[in-house]
């Protein structure tokens, strides 16, 4: 299994961006590329070549699920692990994301000090 380093991250709220960058870069030691919309994430993917996607569900322009759908159309990223973040807690919604191929759903609020290990676990689960 490769070590997880590069994460493509899409989130429209700058306040959450900052705390996630802290959680994944400073605490987790990952390399993060932060995008503010799903559209931007789709545009950045080839250049950044991420190993994992971390998308907020609700974003302007293009939401997380639509962005994932577009990315899955690219052959190289057909099976890239994708994780959604959302403040909604309805089980039905979570199931829906998992069905469309998300590796996991992280429910906000998340703990910035343990988010990195949560992501790491998901990564390991995807490769076991």
């Amino acid at each position: 299994m490769n070590t997880l380093k590069r994460i493509l991250y899409a989130e429209d709220d700058p306040d959450i961006q900052q705390v996630t960058e802290l959680a994944l870069e400073a605490v987790g030691g990952f390399t993060l590329k932060t995008c503010s919309t799903g559209l931007e994430a789709v545009a950045e993917i080839e250049a950044f070549a991420p190993q994992l996607l971390l998308f907020d569900v609700m974003m302007p322009d293009m939401d997380g699920p639509s962005a994932l759908k577009r990315i899955r159309e690219i052959a190289a990223y057909r099976s890239i692990p994708a994780v959604f973040m959302t403040a909604k807690v309805q089980q039905e919604e979570i199931r829906q994301y998992l069905q469309m191929g998300a590796a996991d759903v992280i429910v906000k609020p998340f703990d910035p000090m343990t988010l990195a290990s949560q992501i790491q676990e998901i990564w390991e689960r995807c490769h076991s």
Binding site: V19, L22, V27, K88
Partner: protein
């Protein structure tokens, strides 16, 4: 001290763990977020008012939904659960679009939640005033600004990770690469302030140099590169120089030498712009002169009432005074006499600017301590060059007399002088100020056991660490021997304690090289603050007592004065 017993190092305060740097950033981010929360709630209120007017408008509806959703998620992540709760209630109360009963919103429910949300947000915001300095400090400690990114390229992974930690302790953001190709790819994404490049790679004994050479050939400005190598031969050094290498260090690497070079090459603390005070009773004349100097990038302060000059100088550190010779109340000659009798102003260059044709007057001005005499009308280029050269010389002389040659920090008397100025300023502006005195633990033992050169390197390391990690306007000085001081402007005792404790942890993690083997050092520190201490004597005395207390309690700790 050397591998000192950890049980001695316990302090019952936050900041023991390196993780605390992250915690501190987090709490700073949170405080920052809380400060904006009232504004965010205000925006939601406005959107709600708009939505009430046009309940059928999908864009407004979705906007309101998104704002509430965002607040629910973000506030909860920052631990503001009450706010998040109200925001989520609002989100849940909103029916899915399009609402079945078009145009009817659950008014009462949403309005009551919004009202409570607004109240809680107001309370939160007022509870987190006074935290600005903390945030700034935390940014200085945890976020390294642009221009400090260092790319470290070496195929020895163990060596790289060790060096990386050491450089990070000095405040550099370090990205390391064991493959030249990865380094080149990273270069495309982000330009570093400096590159530390190994010379030998498996592919070739000079692959590092060849690679940099090739990259530089395709670039407009060469990369700021320092080479490191086990090779000591002239050929390797020469080819490094030809590849625009600005430094060459042999392994085993002495980190403090590398840090010195990086500090020099990346200009961590930029030179301040020239600060010129213009004394002229004619506003038009002073404004004209100021305009010329400002265009040359200098900062100017005009004084049109000569008797005000001393007040202005108390506020502004002047590099040079440009003075009219003839003024009402007091002449330029008299004014310069007054200045030269005040210790703090003895060294400020004074340049006279006047329509003076009488050679005798000119000479008398020079004998009174004026440094130059320019006759009006003066050509702009002449003015700028006369002022610049005086300022540069003045700064150089001042630097020699005010700084400590080993560490480059200001010396004892300059520390005292700066403390007086900052204390007066803080009292006038009614802002807090903290004064930290610190002393390296068992320093005599370091000198005795590892030799004086090793001791000197410890002092330099501490100075470099502080220069990197503190805000540019905090004042760092070497008080003498192994004693240092920091003047934290606009910083209260609690914040200063946290910052010093971070530095304490970082410093104790730095490995110092010596021929007898590597070793670690720690320092003890006492802090006293304004407004608790009212004058400079009390401030110094209390900081000194607190430092003594820290030593007595077992060293490697920070103690705040109880005064």
């Amino acid at each position: 001290m050397t591998n000192s017993d950890d049980s001695n190092n316990r302090t019952d305060s936050p900041g023991k763990d390196p993780k605390d740097a992250n915690q501190m950033t987090l709490s700073a981010l949170k405080q920052n977020y809380v400060r904006t929360i009232s504004a965010k709630v205000e925006v939601i209120n406005q959107t709600w008012e708009a939505l009430k007017l046009m309940p059928d408008d999908e864009v407004t509806y979705q906007l309101f939904h998104r704002e509430a959703h965002m607040l629910a998620g973000t506030a909860a992540t920052y631990g503001l659960l009450t706010i998040a709760g109200y925001a989520q209630n609002i989100e849940l109360a909103l029916p899915e679009w399009p609402p079945e009963d078009s145009g009817v919103l659950p008014l009462r429910q949403i309005e009551s939640q919004l009202q409570q949300l607004t109240e809680v947000a107001g309370r939160e915001a007022s509870a987190t005033q006074q935290t600005k300095t903390m945030l700034e400090h935390s940014q200085a400690l945890s976020h390294v600004g642009d221009g400090k990114l260092v790319y470290l390229v070496d195929d020895d992974a163990d060596f790289v990770s060790g060096l990386r930690i050491q450089l990070q302790a000095f405040g550099y953001e370090v990205d390391s690469f064991t493959e030249l190709a990865d380094f080149e790819a990273a270069l495309q994404l982000k330009e570093p302030a400096a590159v530390v490049m190994d010379v030998m790679f498996k592919s070739s004994p000079a692959a590092g140099i060849e690679h940099i050479s090739r990259l530089n050939a395709a670039r407009k400005h060469p990369l700021t590169t320092v080479f490191i190598s086990v090779r000591e031969d002239m050929l390797s050094r020469l080819s490094a120089v030809r590849a625009n290498g600005l430094g060459y260090f042999t392994k085993p690497l002495r980190v403090e030498h590398l840090v010195d070079a990086l500090e020099r090459l990346t200009h961590q603390r930029d030179e301040a712009p020239f600060s010129i005070v213009i004394v002229d009773d004619s506003k038009d004349q002073s404004a004209f002169t100021a305009g010329i100097l400002q265009q040359a990038g200098m900062q100017t302060q005009e004084v049109n009432t000569p008797l005000e000059l001393l007040n202005v100088l108390a506020e502004i550190p002047a590099d040079l005074i440009l003075m009219d010779l003839y003024m009402p109340d007091c002449s330029g000659l008299e004014l310069s006499k007054v200045l030269r009798q005040i210790d703090a102003y003895v060294n400020i260059p004074i340049v006279f600017l006047s329509v003076e044709l009488d050679l005798g007057k000119k000479l008398s001005a020079l004998s009174l301590g004026a440094d130059d005499f320019l006759s009006k009308p003066v050509e702009p280029w002449h003015l700028v060059s006369a002022v610049s050269s005086r300022v540069l010389r003045g700064r150089m002389i001042r630097k020699q007399s005010e700084t400590d040659g080993l560490t480059g920090l200001i010396n004892h008397s300059k520390c005292k002088q700066r403390l007086e100025i900052e204390l007066a300023r803080a009292q006038r502006q009614q802002t807090p100020l903290s004064f930290a005195m610190l002393d390296i633990d068992h320093f005599k033992h370091v000198n005795d056991r590892y030799g004086h050169p090793a001791g000197d390197r410890v002092l330099k390391s501490l100075a470099n660490l502080f220069k990197q990690r503190l805000r540019t306007y905090d004042i760092i000085g070497r008080y003498g021997g192994e004693e240092f001081v920091v003047i934290f402007v606009n910083t209260d005792a609690a914040s200063a304690w946290i910052i010093m404790d971070q530095l304490r942890i970082l410093f104790s993690g730095i490995e110092h090289y010596s021929e007898e083997g590597n070793f670690c050092c720690s320092f003890s520190c006492g802090i006293a603050s304004l407004p608790q201490c009212k004058d400079i004597a009390t401030l110094c005395d209390e900081a000194d007592k607190a430092l003594y207390q820290a030593k007595k309690e077992g060293r490697n700790r920070i103690v705040s004065s109880t005064c």
